[in-house]
Symmetry: C2
Subunit: 204 residues, 2 copies
């Protein structure tokens, strides 16, 4: 065994502790919500020594944003699918699929998304993280719009970045209402309505 | 003089005091933001006796929601204009006008709207008020959509209430970005982009 392998074992242990803390954090946030959750509760549930959570995360807000990354990963994957439609119909089919998967992924993590909603309202760190997440989605949508504009499928008159924002916000707010149970969970109808409005407006 | 006239004078005085408190509240909120503002500061600026503000308003949150009503009134007026278009073009012209006036009204009250945004995030009372405001706008838009669907101008396949939500949220978020200075203040371009996307998608 050489030094690098020993270091790697220690790193592996650190990774496991970090993973334990994240799993415990998830449970604590689900149980207590964001505001009532404490690092002490997380440490306790993870069976790590007193204060260990602070070695890995600056505060509960930072730990929480890590959990957000994991939740959003599925949604990013959906948003990041290659988007090279050759016709309006192809574009519609893919946009419909993306919209549906976006809503579905949020609903699969319904309880955690409720905590995310709460946390955005009270933690500037979480709010900033959410704004980064938004920017990432909006950046991707902007590129998709530019592609179809250059391909002659979508109207050139539109400001791609503004339309991307409008479209994302529409999806985001409807997603929150689904998560909070404020609109009926009919994913097919919801996604079709939104995708039809958007594609009908943007495409030639 | 009879009793009713005396009562009316007292009522008039009460109305003036209330008005003073609201004006003072506006100044204090603009100066300190929502969280740092106190009823004591408002009382002091209004030159009303100690504790008078609490006679008229339960707390600063309630006083603030009154101020929000006033700010939103102009926007409600815009949203409440009769909407009976006979063609897609007429509909577009009116939607464009409404969108522009909505953004413009918010920008005319830019500093107060920044405080509103802050207050929504920290006060459940203000958040609830904002949700009522949203519901009022969305209710109006839903009726407009139903009208044009019945008139055969817009596609019947759309769920009027869901589309109304999507459209309002798109406008709301873009409005916040304008208020917070996150997008360029080009009201014509912004309103045209949004109105074209929406009308293009919804109308036949």
């Amino acid at each position: 065994m050489d030094g690098s392998e020993q270091l790697s074992k220690r790193q592996l242990q650190a990774m496991r502790t970090r993973e334990n803390l994240l799993n415990a954090g998830r449970e604590v946030f689900l149980e207590n919500g964001f505001q009532k959750a404490t690092m002490t509760q997380i440490n306790k549930l993870a069976h790590t020594g007193y204060g260990t959570a602070y070695v890995y995360f600056k505060n509960k807000d930072e730990l929480f944003t890590e959990l957000m990354e994991t939740i959003m990963k599925k949604m990013y994957d959906v948003a990041g699918l290659p988007f090279k439609p050759r016709t309006k119909e192809e574009a519609f089919a893919q946009i419909l699929k993306q919209t549906r998967l976006f809503m579905q992924s949020a609903l699969e993590e319904k309880e955690m998304m409720k905590v995310v909603k709460e946390a955005i309202g009270v933690s500037p760190i979480v709010e900033e993280k959410w704004n980064h997440i938004r920017a990432r989605f909006i950046g991707g949508i902007t590129k998709d719009i530019q592609f179809v504009q250059e391909a002659g499928l979508a109207n050139e008159k539109f400001d791609a970045s503004l339309i991307a924002k409008g479209w994302f916000y529409m999806n985001e707010q409807v997603m929150w209402e689904l998560v909070l149970g404020e609109i009926e969970e009919n994913l097919d109808a919801v996604s079709e309505n939104l995708a039809e409005l958007y594609t009908g407006g943007l495409y030639k």
